[in-house]
């Protein structure tokens, strides 16, 4: 795939916009991609790395991916320029069942670099806004600089059909920060979205998920109405290489999207 645009989101975090080179591949992607799925992005000579497709299922002319430069592959991806070719395998995995969300209120809760998978669902919903009820987005990061998709956050903030709650960890605020300061679970409890006829979509680092699930329970959300993605290390994406399973569940085939009810049945020690 060819890199047609790139954007620095936050220190070390970059978004690449990719276009298919082979129309047949593109056609397959259009047929198969639904929000929540992931892919393996690669640079020859360095290898492949797994992350979600950050663009929504309502926009399939391109793929966007957002990642933090941290290892060998992500460094190579970050060093790529517009016009460079990279590889994509996918889309793999299951999806957020958007049809089941129709007519319901949605709360998106996300932390740090986990906004990309949430953002894919958010735009998939906003692009067909009339099908959903009230939409609330709670997003937090360590510091103001670490917030990703800053332009889109501004856009969501301006929309009157989206409630956006932004927060940064204590100490991460800048002098002109107008939003909340505090950890996501606390801020979520303050925002107190009503659990009635509501679906929560939760993506974040394991520790944030753990505490946010407790907050959601306090707010009265039932486990089957809370969706999350588990993104374990993967190499093959097709159920063979042996890394991603949590208990008997192969994340690459049966996930990455699970309800909290499904997650709570997994062996917690291996999450």
């Amino acid at each position: 795939m060819k890199i047609v645009a790139s954007r620095n989101e936050a220190p070390g975090v970059k978004t690449l916009k990719l276009e298919f080179q082979d129309p047949a591949d593109h056609e397959l992607f259009k047929q198969n991609y639904r929000t929540g799925m992931f892919g393996l992005y690669g640079v020859y000579g360095e290898g492949e790395s797994t992350f979600c497709v950050a663009s929504p299922e309502t926009r399939k002319e391109y793929i966007e991916c957002t990642f933090r430069r941290s290892g060998r592959v992500t460094s190579a991806l970050a060093n790529s320029d517009i016009g460079d070719l990279i590889t994509f395998r996918g889309p793999y995995g299951n999806r957020f069942p958007l049809e089941e969300f129709y007519g319901k209120n949605l709360v998106f809760i996300s932390g740090g670099i986990a906004l990309p998978p949430t953002r894919s669902v958010i735009w998939s919903c906003l692009d067909q806004r009339e099908k959903f009820g009230k939409i609330t987005i709670v997003y937090g990061a360590r510091s103001v600089a670490d917030l990703v998709y800053k332009h889109e956050l501004e856009e969501w903030e301006k929309r009157d059909d989206v409630d956006l709650v932004l927060t940064v960890d204590p100490g991460g605020e800048s002098p002109d920060w107008k939003h909340k300061v505090g950890f996501v679970p606390t801020i979520l409890e303050e925002a107190a979205p009503s659990p009635g006829n509501c679906i929560a979509v939760l993506c974040g680092p394991p520790i944030m998920i753990k505490f946010t699930l407790i907050s959601l329970k306090k707010l009265g959300f039932e486990e089957q109405n809370v969706y999350t993605t588990l993104e374990n290390r993967m190499k093959c994406g097709v159920g063979k290489c042996g890394r991603c399973n949590v208990g008997s569940v192969y994340i690459c085939k049966e996930g990455p999207v699970f309800t909290a009810a499904e997650v709570s049945k997994m062996p917690q020690a291996d999450l």
Binding site: Y44, G45, R233, K240, R243, G247, S248, A269, D270, L271
Partner: protein, 337 residues
């Protein structure tokens, strides 16, 4: 009366199979270690081994396999896939546990994406199994509900004769019949009785173990920590195992040209599941050993209806610290489910 292949005809068979375009493999001891290796004559076989140090898995799923070649040009990237080998192979003298291991892994390599490298080799290979008349302290096929003369995964079964001078021949599959046809005139009819199977005592109660493993309450049992305390975290048990199939992809080359390879990897290694953030879902050696046992006797059978263990005992036999599946399952079978 049954058909017999006599030992002194084996070399003729090897020559015949080779002449018909087959590559012939079998147990070979070289220097200090043994494996299933290509031979030119039957004299190279070591059929007296209880079983080779290395399993037959590596003839189907090698420790490193080139998948594709890439070359990066100014405006494009050229890639070329390596094709799965299509050579015809006769693998002679495979032990029943090793042959079973192949059959156990078939559904894994076949679900979702069908692994051509595995199946092309499977379809082009004839597995000629020899039933075991000898065993050692580590053999445990019977504990896995298999036997020293299991036919699972075999195309032809050979049963050693009591007089030690040959084998009774039984074809099991079309591939097997084809291979035996090529040597049909070298076989003879005989009433010579076959030697008794090796005695392999049952070492643990598999059903009791499986029941214990399936109980979610036991996942965080202190048992795992105790049993794996001396595990040093090497990959020898997984790499020698005839059914362990975990792998990694690695690109090797310079900036512009190189090869993407599929390499053996192991759930024993700390970095196997490490996230880029540093979070590691299986962060301790006991979590990793639990994964190995759970995968073999709980998760894998849950998916494919078969335990991912054929009882060869290599994990215990070659473990640097004398651990292994046998000890763990023996201990589990004494616990309350």
């Amino acid at each position: 009366m049954t058909r017999i292949l006599s030992s002194d005809k084996l070399d003729n068979c090897v020559a015949r199979w080779r002449k018909a375009g087959n590559k012939v493999f079998g147990p070979v001891k070289k220097e200090t270690t043994s494996s299933y290796a290509a031979v030119e004559s039957a004299a190279e076989f070591d059929l007296g081994l209880i079983l080779p140090d290395r399993s037959v898995k590596e003839l189907f799923f090698p420790q490193t396999e080139p998948m594709m070649r890439y070359s990066i040009k100014k405006q494009a990237i050229d890639t070329e896939d390596f094709q799965p080998p299509i050579e015809k192979r006769i693998i002679f003298g495979v032990r029943p546990c090793d042959a079973s291991g192949l059959a156990i892994d078939d559904p894994l390599f076949g679900w979702d994406y069908k692994d051509d490298f595995w199946f092309k080799r499977r379809n082009n290979s004839v597995i000629i199994t020899i039933a075991c008349t000898k065993s050692d302290d580590f053999c445990m096929c019977t504990s896995l509900k298999l036997a020293p003369d299991s036919t699972k995964g075999a195309d032809v079964m050979l049963r050693p004769l009591q007089n030690g001078k040959g084998w009774q021949v039984e074809e099991l599959t079309d591939r097997g019949r084809e291979a035996v046809k090529e040597i049909a005139d070298l076989l003879q009819d005989s009433a010579e009785p076959t030697a008794p199977n090796a005695m392999v005592p049952e070492k643990f109660n598999l059903d009791a173990c499986v029941a214990w493993l399936r109980n979610p309450e036991n996942f965080e049992s202190s048992f795992w920590k105790e049993i794996s305390m001396r595990c040093i975290g090497c990959g020898s048990c997984t790499f020698l195992c005839p059914t362990c199939h975990c792998f990694d992809f690695q690109d090797e080359g310079d900036t512009y040209n190189g090869i993407r390879r599929k390499n053996w990897d192991s759930c024993s290694f700390a970095l196997f599941t490490m996230h880029t953030s540093g979070h590691n879902p299986r962060s301790t050696q006991s979590a990793r050993w639990r994964q190995r046992i759970m995968h073999k006797f709980n998760y894998f059978p849950g998916k494919f209806n078969v335990n991912s263990c054929s009882g060869c005992g290599r994990c215990s036999r070659q473990c640097p610290v004398d651990m292994g599946i046998t000890e763990t399952l023996q201990a589990i079978s004494t616990l309350q489910p």
